[in-house]
Amino acid sequence: MLRILGKIQRLGIVTEQLPEIGEPALTAIGEQLKAHIGERFGGSLAIREVDAGSCNGCELEVQALNNPLYSIERFGVHFVASPRHADMLLVSGPVSRHMETALLRTYEATPEPRLVIAVGECGACGGEFGISYASCGAVSNVIPVDAVIRGCPPTPINLMRGILEAIAKRSPGG
């Protein structure tokens, strides 16, 4: 135990004051995110991530939001296991036909008012896979979508920005 504490102490807090990565500071985005979540979601935004058929690239980057450098929880965002607990669905695509009904049911299980963000090129427009016998293409072909975050896959910073934009553009209470 002492060694764990020692390691924690020596390493300190690595969480970034929202980093450069060639972008406006992460903290700036994060603080805005926190303010909007405070105002519109009682300080806590619950997201259910749904992989509706993706290659798993988007999931890796969504997972990265929880690593200690981005640590998105500090801004009031947390990922939940059940759509019934969610304010927002973050859906990666393309929506495979085998996931079509599962996605619809997940959407229906999410209490209103609910926000849906389509993640990645495939979620936004079908990407490399498009529409076929096996793929419905974009998420918006299956459920109503409020915003998209492009990128293959979108970087964690772009995911944060996209989530911020989606909740900022939404009118309070709507």
Binding site: I4, I8, C58, F79, S96, G127, S132, A134
Partner: protein
């Protein structure tokens, strides 16, 4: 006699016992040798291959025109001592009946059901009549990989849930069933798991996959080489480098194209970086699954730092689309050689310090030792590759046993364990990180100068190629055949997950349900790479 000679002698053995075998030249498939077998001898081929000690690698089919009519051609790849053999047969399209290899090789079960669902081949003695890849998006009468099936298909307005799949049910006092998924807890891919349990103990787990089936094999048809490389890079996003490499290798083999050595070394550098990133991340995720948050956050931090360097050096955090037909898309700026060398050294040290802490904790040892044991005989029967196989005594690594450039010029250790528990798989990954860090240093030190890409040339119609790459999950097989004008006629990528998903069903037996997450993560099969 070396193992390689043994496989060369195998066709003679087949001929000796009366199996009609014809050896064929197919330069694109090299180093694999190609033999033609009559469909009536297909069953004996499986039996003999098994008794010869061959590993069943993969099987794929395609519809082609031959003298005498349209046929469904079925290929099965075997491996023995690092040598590969592709056996090929053909059955009439109108009556595509073939014997199954599942009776000899349990690992052939799902691949054959995939071929049945996609091409309509009827395996006469297959022990499992249930569909596999097909859910409700197309009917049993339709075969998406046949030429008369348009890529758009004719799907229903809304594809229904596939709720009538017959899972095996356990019965008895106190037995209950737990259905999980396809949308299940966590930020992960969709799949369905059906547990039969008594109390907390798992009597049986049955997987139902295919939810992320995106028609990859079908929509590959008609693409040009670059388009196929992009698609291959998205077969499984966490293995984007390895799948792109395998597909490009197959296309380059078909085209007879020599890839500049600098490009090949850079591909290996990216592939080792991908291996390290995934093993580091998964080690953290395994610790998370046993509720040891300290370990999770430490490894998550290391993975993030690692991916940032990948982005700086190659322009993408996963190095997606960095491998292209004929070479690589971007050169490595010389300043990154020192950066990456220091980074590799520092990562090795960091992990060493972390493991000194983690190894000292009985609460971690208690959760991973003896948990989720994959017995060596089961690993062998299923033909498990990668760290899952190597943690259960399957001593095989494409990089060492069927070396492709640049690994033919490098020496490195391939770790091996025998206990097959979660602990062994976690050790494997840590030791593979060490090997990869050494390889990264060797690759940086020996990086040849020169061009990074050879001009692409369309191969002649009907040429085929085979790519074999050791991705971070294990051996990836990629097959391509070109049609006219350099367009792809057939693409089949076999992700190593095909061999490890069935292993998860076996290794969870008699474990407790709460240990399923760590068992699953220790294997970490790809859903997308498997569902295609």
């Amino acid at each position: 006699m070396t193992p390689r000679d043994q496989l060369a002698a195998f066709p003679r053995r087949l001929a000796d016992i009366g199996v009609r075998v014809e050896a064929r030249e197919s330069p694109g498939l090299a180093p694999a040798q190609l033999i033609l077998v009559k469909p009536g001898d297909w069953s004996r081929l499986g039996i003999e291959a098994r008794s010869w000690g061959c590993r069943w690698v993969a099987s794929w089919g395609e519809e082609v025109d031959q003298a005498g009519g349209t046929v469904i051609r079925v290929n099965t790849c075997f491996e023995h001592g690092g040598a590969y053999l592709v056996a090929r047969t053909a059955v009439p399209r109108a009556a595509p009946v073939l014997a199954s290899h599942t009776t000899s090789y349990p690992g052939a079960d799902r691949p054959e059901r995939h071929i049945r669902d996609m091409l309509g081949v009827v395996y006469s003695d297959h022990p499992d009549a249930r569909r596999w890849t097909r859910h409700q998006a197309w009917t049993q009468a339709e075969c998406p990989l046949r030429r008369d099936f348009p890529a758009a298909g004719s799907p229903p307005a809304r594809t229904a849930a596939d709720y009538q799949y017959n899972f095996l049910l356990a019965q008895g006092g106190g037995v209950y069933e737990i259905p999980v998924g396809p949308v299940h807890a966590g930020i992960i891919e969709p799949g369905h798991f059906r547990f039969q349990a008594v109390g907390e103990t798992v009597l049986k787990l049955e997987e139902r996959l295919g939810y992320t089936h995106k028609g990859i094999e079908k929509i590959a048809e008609g693409r040009d080489a670059e388009g196929l490389a992009r698609l291959a890079a998205r077969v499984s996003g966490d293995s984007t480098v390895a799948h792109a490499w395998a597909a490009c290798m197959a296309m380059e083999q078909a085209a007879g194209l020599d890839v500049p050595s600098r490009a090949v070394w850079l591909r290996a550098l990216m592939c080792e970086r991908e291996r390290v990133a995934n093993h580091v991340g998964d080690n953290g995720a395994m610790l998370n699954d046993i509720a040891f948050a300290f370990g999770f956050y430490q490894f998550a931090r290391l993975r993030e730092m690692w991916q940032r360097v990948s982005r700086e050096a190659f322009g993408h955090r996963f190095m997606m689309d960095c491998i292209v037909p004929g070479g690589v898309a971007t050169d490595l700026d010389p300043r990154f050689i020192a950066t990456m060398r220091d980074e590799a050294h520092a990562l090795g040290q960091q992990i060493g310090k972390l493991m000194a802490i983690i190894n000292d904790l009985p609460s971690v040892a208690d959760r991973v030792r003896g948990t989720g044991v994959l017995k060596p005989e089961h690993a062998r029967a299923l033909g498990c590759v990668g760290y899952v196989g190597r943690a259960s005594g399957m001593d095989f690594d494409v990089r060492r046993d069927a070396p492709y450039p640049p690994y033919d010029k490098l020496t490195f250790a391939v770790p091996l364990h025998h206990y097959g528990d979660v602990n062994a798989r976690a050790r494997m990954r840590l030791e593979e990180i060490t090997t990869s860090l050494d390889l990264i240093e060797a690759l940086l030190n020996g990086l040849p100068a020169g061009p990074i890409r050879a001009a692409w040339m369309h191969p002649a119609a009907d040429t085929e190629g085979l790519g074999l790459v050791e991705g971070w999950r294990g051996e990836i097989l990629s097959f391509v055949r070109f049609g006219a004008n350099g367009r792809i006629a057939r693409f089949f990528p076999r992700d190593p997950s095909w061999t490890t998903w069935p292993a998860l069903e076996l290794l969870i037996h008699d474990n407790i349900v709460p240990d399923f997450p760590v068992c699953n993560k220790s294997v970490n099969g790809s859903y997308s790479g498997h569902d295609l």
